[in-house]
Amino acid sequence: MEGSADGRPVIRVEGLRKSFGHLEVLRGIDLEVHRGEVVVIFGRSGSGKSTLLRCINFLEEPTAGVVEVDGIRLEPGHRTSNKKELIRQVRIRTGMVFQQFNLFPHMTALENVIEGPVTVKGMRREDAIPMGMELLARVGLADKAHEYPIRLSGGQQQRVAIARALAMEPKAMLFDEPTSALDPELIGEVLAVMRSLATDLHMTMIVVTHEMGFAREVAHRMCFFHEGRIVEEGPPSEILANPRDPRTRRFLDAVL
């Protein structure tokens, strides 16, 4: 199932809605992300950005709509064993990076990275270790391979988390505010790794972030979220230089 050799999007979201009780967080989202594309999603907190990412890999069950990842189509409804398997396949194909890193604290950096391939894909440990070391080198942490997460800084932990997600060889990466929990001086190292994923590996990425500098440099497209809808989208040069929607303008004025 090669995602987009035929121009089909790697990720397609159609009419996606999500309610928590009476609160409707997503009110009909349509989004297509093509191979190698970097989409930055921004907007006020509570506008549904994170929820969208979490609905794409079904960490949250959407209320309505369609999610399609690499040709696998998911719709909300009862989780039969067949559907559970489809969800798992979608998750294998999407790497997720969390705001709070969520590294496994009882495993070293290297063990964190090879956990997915070994446990989920059944890769042999001997084969996984050199691959894991290579990934850690890619995020600049080869010398920390045998450290436990608690001995790593926030920036280092997040880079390990990126390597862990990459180890599954995903078709797309989902970044959920990857630098929001970091001290300011540690943000740069994480953004640098993400930038190299985009420019060197041409990784398909959806990034929820407030780092407008990163968006300007790396994103192909930016989507502004407001109250569960995408109210404006376009290339960063347009969105950042002269936003059309007044709500976008007001938000950008506040953060820039």
Binding site: F98, N102, H106, E115, T119, V120, R151
Partner: protein, 333 residues
């Protein structure tokens, strides 16, 4: 002690201690400050044993008899350990499944584990032991015509019945311990495991349970120590002579020679030694499990109270906490 009285309107000035010759009491205090706390503690324990020893001597304690019979009591130790180890093994398995069932949305699993925990926590252990040992055969006899062979199967020997009873009872308590341990692991860990494509089973086995074990071990150790002691109850079912544990043996030999006090003191000493030894190993295990959770090994040390220096005496600053200096900012290598 002379107190310098102020000449003003009854304003008391602090006594001028520097000019006093230290009294006996004060010299003792100063000498005491020079002795480390641990040494004092050891002396207190020693004192307790000396007092108890004197008391026993006065009460005509038969030490010769004890020297003769202590091996007989000690021979029960393997059986106490076997009963406890088998029971804790059963309890751990039951607690694991019980806890997972308590956390599941399956109504059958949730309901059955709820019943199990409620019944076995809500009734006395001794009643459960008798239900299993004496009650089950009766059920078996009455069901024999429907299920041939069940009477035989439910006719348990005291040891098996004891292990089953202890395991079921402790498993119920430990279900709650395991459930709390699993719930103490943040939801982000489960999400991270799911995001990698793990199934529930894989996430539990690889991510959640290994972390929960760290939380579960200390209270499980406590349960095991309690079980070492509760294993004495199995004696009340009566045991085969060759399988008698500590308490049963003490009872037997004490009764035969009219030396109940000596016999049970022996039994108590063996139990005490056993639990103390186990606590020691538990401490080592907990330290091993802390890897990945302790950043600097120096920071593990608890802050200690500085002994008040003899010159300073008790005053402000005397109770300052020593902070290990190596627990400073993290070193980047």
């Amino acid at each position: 002690m002379r107190v310098n009285q102020g000449t003003g309107a009854g304003v008391a000035r602090p006594p001028d201690l520097a000019q006093e010759r230290p009294g006996l009491r004060e010299r003792l205090e100063l000498a005491s400050l020079a002795v480390p706390f641990r040494v004092k503690l050891a002396l207190v324990w020693l004192g307790i044993f000396v007092v108890l020893g004197l008391l026993f001597a006065l009460a005509g304690f038969d030490t010769a008899w004890m020297r003769e019979e202590w091996l007989f009591v000690l021979k029960g130790l393997p059986w106490t350990v076997i009963i406890s180890a088998a029971s804790i093994g059963l309890a751990i398995v039951l607690a694991l499944f019980g806890a997972l069932a308590r956390l599941s949305r399956n109504p059958v699993a949730y309901g059955v584990s709820g019943f199990y925990v409620s019944f076995f926590r809500g009734t006395p252990l001794i009643v459960q032991l008798f239900l299993i040992y004496l009650g089950l055969p009766q059920i078996g006899a009455n069901l024999e015509r429907y299920v041939p062979g069940i009477h035989e199967a439910l006719l348990l020997d005291p040891l098996t019945a004891g292990i089953l009873g202890l395991g079921l009872n402790y498993g119920a308590y430990m279900t709650e311990i395991f459930r709390a341990g699993i719930q103490s692991i943040g939801h982000g860990q489960l999400e991270a495991a799911y995001a990698l494509g793990m199934t529930y089973r894989q996430a539990m086995r690889r991510v959640i349970l290994p972390q929960a074990v760290r939380v579960i071990i200390p209270p499980t150790g406590n349960e095991f120590i309690a079980m070492l002691k509760d294993s004495a109850l199995v004696s009340l079912l009566g045991t085969v002579v060759s399988q008698m544990e500590i308490f049963r043996r003490a009872q037997l030999v004490g009764r035969a020679d009219f030396r109940p006090f000596e016999a049970f003191i022996l039994a108590a000493a063996v139990y005490w030694g056993l639990t103390t030894a186990f606590q020691f190993f538990q401490g080592r295990l907990e330290r091993r499990l802390s890897k990945g959770y302790v950043r600097e090994y120096g920071a593990e040390r608890r802050p200690r109270f500085l002994p008040a220096s003899a010159a300073g005496g008790i005053g402000p600053g005397a109770l300052e906490v020593e902070v290990p200096t190596e627990a400073g900012p993290r070193q980047e290598r």
